[in-house]
């Protein structure tokens, strides 16, 4: 019924309105799994973004975000928790953090190996500290042979959108609202680069033995399965 109502509502909307409706719900949904990562104290304080990877408190971010000690993670529900680093790799610019919390909302993982040039993407983080700051655009290209990037075998997703300081460690979503990358750096105001999630998976598997985010689908407690 709900989907029928939704379909009827969409029929009455222009394509532009449908797009905005979808983008709004996509951002609201993803925002629940986005966290602010801060470190250091006083004038040395810095902050970036992170994504809840596992509902038991595993958070993924950039290694360059956690550099100053005194790590804290602010959740969407307002909780501000101490965090500890359980794995970090500066050459990959990835870090895994742990906070003491359970049942955290996670975002589904998308297939970062099948990101096509021209496909829609959406980045979210804390640009200049702005909460949940979002920017949309397209995949320019992906792989290890991108112009502007050193040819050292590292894989990147090149993005035509507007990442800013503070987006680092935040989420890159595809048009399904699934996580496909970790926003990491920019080469100019209009071009950003993200680490694909398959690299994150490999990092987690190698360093802490986590194979996969358990939540390929969010828990659906109300749904009744008839056998």
């Amino acid at each position: 019924m709900v989907s029928a109502l939704r379909a009827r509502k969409q029929m009455a909307m222009s394509v532009f309105e449908q797009l905005n409706d979808r983008l709004g719900s996509l951002a609201a949904e993803a925002r629940r799994s986005l966290v602010r990562v801060s470190s250091g104290r006083g004038w040395q304080q810095g902050s970036g973004s992170g994504t809840i990877w596992h509902s038991d408190g595993l958070i993924i971010t950039n290694a360059h975000v956690i550099g100053r000690g005194g790590l804290r993670v602010a959740l969407h529900d307002g909780r501000d928790l101490a965090a500890r680093v359980i794995a970090a790799d500066e050459s990959l610019d990835l870090a895994a953090l742990q906070v003491e919390a359970v049942d955290l909302p996670t975002v589904q993982l998308g297939n970062s190996k099948q990101l096509h040039a021209g496909a829609w993407v959406f980045a979210m983080g804390f640009p200049y500290g702005v909460e949940g700051g979002s920017t949309g655009g397209v995949v320019i290209g992906s792989g290890a042979d991108l112009p502007e990037m050193p040819s050292n075998g590292r894989e990147w997703i090149a993005l035509s959108l507007h990442l800013r300081p503070g987006h680092s460690g935040g989420m890159l979503l595809n048009s399904d609202g699934k996580l496909v990358g970790v926003n990491t750096l920019i080469t100019g105001p209009d071009v950003g680069f993200a680490i694909p999630t398959h690299i994150v998976k490999r990092f987690l598997k190698d360093r802490i033995g986590v194979m996969e985010a358990p939540s390929t689908a969010p828990p659906q407690r109300e749904s009744v399965v008839i056998l």
Binding site: A7, Q10, V15, Q18, L19, R22, L23, L26, H116, A117, G118, A119, W120, G137, V138, V139, I140, G141, G143, D145, L146, P147, E148, A158, S160, N174, S175, D176, D190, V191
Partner: protein
């Protein structure tokens, strides 16, 4: 059921892959390679400024192979170069941009490395060529906000319908320009026929001059071009122009600045008589001058 955003994403990625089959890599400069688009079988259009050498040019094809290419010709005034290469690629549908409107979504495609790449933007403005700096000669051009990723010069601008509207150039700093199909057609046809773009030649040095009010009234314009030099044996000399004459119109096109004259001296006037309205001794006269061809610099 896929929603509107997924449909949009799928369509954009699909068009990128489909039309990307006609977009090639152009290796003709020391730095990063740039892009080019198949115009017709064996003919590739690209940006003139990325073709830094006349020989040893290579073209990278979508299937990963590289073939050698020869330079058919170049036109710095529209930043277009035309190459010939054995490339068995699909010819894209080249569209006149008449149907495009300010605000439309467009994709820029490029192939600076092996794979096709894309950026998204909107059409910011559709401009007439007179907004360009002197020396550039385009009837009109599209201005977009697509990101010109390194190596995107010479690549295609795609409409939502998958038509190629022109080739993108970053020759002007800070602005993404697209040279439209109509200009490309004129340049490519001329270069294929002659190997160069012919430019008309008059043989005068001229500067803008304000007309006195009585002359301005007779002439119907405030400014003209004061002739400060006449090259010997030039079309201007043979046509009877003297130093001190003030040029008013060229074939009814008002001449208010030297750029107006540069633009008016199109290649198709070469060898033909053109009517020049001038002011001499306070009176308006009309001269007929046979336009010559501008020698190669």
């Amino acid at each position: 059921m896929p929603d509107v955003l997924q449909n949009l994403s799928e369509e954009m990625a699909g068009l990128t892959e489909q039309i990307g089959a006609s977009v090639v890599r152009v290796e003709a400069r020391r730095r990063l390679p740039a892009s080019g688009v198949l115009w017709e079988k064996g003919v590739i259009v690209t940006s003139n400024h990325v073709v830094e050498r006349d020989e040893d040019i290579h073209v990278g094809l979508p299937n990963g192979s590289t073939v050698s290419a020869t330079l058919i010709g170049r036109d710095p005034s529209s930043d277009v170069a035309v190459l010939r290469a054995e490339a068995d690629l699909p010819v894209p549908h080249w569209a006149e941009p008449e149907t495009i409107r300010v605000g439309h979504l467009v994709l820029a495609l490029g192939r600076p490395s092996e794979r096709i790449m894309a950026t998204l933007g909107v059409v910011s403005a559709i401009e007439k060529g007179d907004k360009l700096p002197a020396g550039m000669q385009i009837d009109h051009f599209l201005q977009t906000d697509v990101v010109m990723y390194p190596g995107f010069s010479g690549g295609a601008l795609l409409s939502a319908g998958g038509r190629v509207l022109g080739i993108n150039t970053s020759a002007m700093r800070g602005i993404s320009l697209t040279i439209p199909t109509s200009t490309l057609r004129r340049v490519v046809e001329t270069l294929l026929a002659h190997g160069k773009i012919r430019r008309g030649y008059l043989g005068v040095g001229a500067q803008a001059a304000k007309l006195s009010s009585s002359v301005a009234q007779k002439a119907g314009q405030d400014h003209g071009l004061l002739v400060v030099s006449v090259e010997s044996e030039s079309p201007a000399e043979q046509g009877g122009l003297f130093m001190g004459d003030v040029l008013l119109t060229f074939e009814d096109t008002p001449l208010r600045s030297p750029e107006d004259l540069i633009r008016a001296l199109r290649g198709d006037y070469v060898g033909k008589a053109a009517a020049l309205k001038i002011v001499r001794g306070g009176e308006v006269h009309t001269l007929s001058v046979t336009i010559g061809e501008r020698p190669a610099r």
